[in-house]
């Protein structure tokens, strides 16, 4: 695993901003972190970057604990936290050259990086005159600078106009081809859906659910069943080769993933034969947005 977060807790006074979170990110995996404001997304990012200390639990990057190795760990991570804050009087190239010298990188790579994010290396305009979209693209170039294994983007399209969003999203998709691990925090669900392989949904500092984006967008034989006593219902399928897993959006629901050969009617019959009262049995074409909204709805009012 590239990142392993185990039972991470971070408290501010009596309030837990991150409450017993466990996550794993494999090399090359792209994880989207979603959640309403105050759900603990930024705190989790700060903990991974070593800007905050854990109250309890551990976070390892490639087997190395973030504390006390936070400075060494940061060399292996490229990050863009909202808007990059660079030297306003320096051009894009001079800003990158400063960081290239600081991190002892090949200065020759700077022009190449600027071209990757569609900025002109010959442009002399100071950073202060850049549009927000240009600033974000320069921030992405800076994140890519040390060829990191992990990229962290926190709300990279916040405040951008539609054209800027499309440009930044296009660059993030291009970065996907580099095969790096990515953590993307965003309020924009389509952005996460386009870029990430999986999503973790946070609320009140807890992970409510993790899902693969492919599963959420599956239009084939995925079904959601609501029965009384869902725990025993999943056991009905234990030796049938049918994948049955609990659905975090509701206590009595579970998800069935069938292969092309497996018939939904047979699964329904099995449930009834087991004496379970089936309240609902529907084919899913959920999508991230529906899943997120259902999850938020089912946990509304929880603290």
């Amino acid at each position: 695993m590239l990142i392993e977060v185990r039972n991470a807790v971070r408290k501010f006074g009596n309030k837990s901003a991150v409450d017993d979170i466990s996550l794993k990110i494999a090399p090359g995996e792209r994880l989207g972190i979603l959640g309403p404001n105050g759900s603990g997304k930024t705190t989790l990012i700060q903990l991974i970057l070593g800007f905050l200390k854990l109250t309890s639990g551990t976070i390892d990057i490639d087997g190395q604990p973030v504390w006390p190795n936070r400075f060494a760990v940061r060399h292996r991570i490229g990050s863009l936290i909202e808007i990059p804050l660079l030297y306003p009087s320096l051009s894009a190239r001079d800003n990158l050259l400063f960081f290239a010298r600081l991190t002892r990188l090949d200065l020759g790579k700077v022009d190449q990086l600027l071209e990757t994010v569609h900025l002109d290396p010959a442009e002399k305009k100071p950073f202060s005159t850049f549009s927000l979209g240009m600033k974000q693209r320069l921030g992405i170039a800076l994140a890519l600078m040390n060829d990191p294994e992990l990229l962290i983007f926190d709300e990279p399209t916040n405040g951008l106009d539609p054209e800027g969003i499309v440009q930044v999203r296009g660059i993030l998709k291009e970065i996907n081809r580099l095969g790096k691990s990515v953590i993307l925090c965003s309020h924009l669900l389509p952005e996460v859906e386009h870029i990430c392989d999986s999503v973790a949904i946070l609320q009140n500092g807890k992970v409510l659910a993790t899902r693969s984006v492919t599963d959420l967008n599956r239009t084939g034989n995925t079904f959601r069943a609501v029965v009384k006593n869902a725990g025993s219902a999943t056991k009905v399928f234990s030796e049938t080769g049918i994948s049955a897993s609990a659905d975090e959006t509701a206590a009595d629901a579970f998800i069935l993933s069938l292969t092309a050969e497996q018939k939904p009617a047979d699964s329904l019959k099995r449930l009834i034969a087991a004496g379970l009262e089936v309240e609902e049995f529907v084919r899913l074409n959920q999508g991230l947005e529906n899943f997120f909204m259902q999850l938020m709805e089912s946990h509304r009012g929880e603290h």
Partner: protein
């Protein structure tokens, strides 16, 4: 796992990289041009005025039949004045502005994201601005030496240099830089850093401390005046006075104190940064 030697060489390489990046940044921001343009042009103007004034006084004295050798010590007094007041104020304000702006833009946070440690940050800042101060001092010294050399040749006087004074004059700028850096890091703001630096250098060191010294003399409290004589910006002067009085053990103690001030200020800056970095995100 890195061995001790590898770790040391890695740390040294990181410090060197931080200093190189900072020096290049100052070069690209043209900070050195601003500092040199202000301090050197002011010095040249003052030296020209001094030359004109000395010539006028000499002509007046000759007209009255009171001609005598010109007092060229005033050239060294001007250099001493620049080292004691003008250079520290100009360079300290540049330090406060540049360092403070970095915090206002939260650029330090960006630098931290790239793995630079607070210690490297402070070391690179101090080294860069010390280099700037030493460069200014050397260029001013060259100008003054040329002026003094030409004037002694014209006047037919001996070329005697106040070496002790010249050597210790460099300490004023180094002390002011360290204090300006510390004040700005404490306040995390360019504008507040500039105001505090000005208050310290111009109000406390130039007005309040001397006033308190005078008052304590009048009130027969010599201990207060003695204590005020050890304020950071007074140490170089005290060092020269001790050396001139051939009190060498006293001079060494004052020298140690003068060197300790930048070291302490640098350490305190590091300590503050190390604790403050967390708050810099948003």
């Amino acid at each position: 796992m890195r061995t001790g030697d590898n770790m040391n060489s890695g740390t040294m390489a990181e410090i060197k990289a931080s200093i190189t990046a900072e020096l290049h940044k100052v070069y690209r921001l043209k900070t050195h041009i601003v500092v040199l343009a202000v301090t050197l042009s002011l010095l040249v103007v003052v030296l020209v005025i001094e030359f004109a004034a000395m010539r006028y006084v000499a002509q007046q004295a000759q007209a009255q039949g009171k001609g005598g050798p010109a007092n060229l010590n005033s050239i060294w007094q001007i250099f001493h004045f620049f080292c004691q007041y003008v250079n520290p104020i100009v360079i300290a304000l540049v330090v406060a502005f540049q360092t403070g702006k970095e915090f206002e833009w939260k650029t330090f946070h960006q630098i931290q994201l790239k793995g630079q440690t607070p210690a490297n940050y402070v070391i690179s800042k101090l080294t860069t601005f010390f280099a700037l101060a030493i460069g200014t001092y050397i260029l001013q010294l060259v100008i003054v030496l040329i002026d003094y050399g030409v004037r002694t040749a014209i006047e037919g006087q001996s070329f005697d240099l106040p070496l002790m004074q010249i050597a210790t004059d460099l300490l004023y700028s180094l002390t002011a830089i360290s204090l300006a850096l510390l004040l700005t890091i404490l306040m995390v703001s360019a504008s507040v850093g500039i105001v505090l630096t000005l208050v310290y250098l111009c109000v406390l060191e130039m007005i309040i401390f001397p006033l308190l010294g005078t008052l304590s003399g009048m009130l027969d409290k010599p201990a207060v005046a003695t204590a005020l004589g050890y304020s950071p910006m007074k140490l170089p002067e005290r060092l020269v006075n001790s050396a001139i009085a051939e009190n060498y053990s006293g001079a060494i103690l004052v020298l140690v104190a003068a060197v300790l001030i930048p070291v302490l200020a640098g350490w305190l800056s590091y300590f503050v940064l190390n604790r403050r970095q967390i708050g810099l995100i948003r």
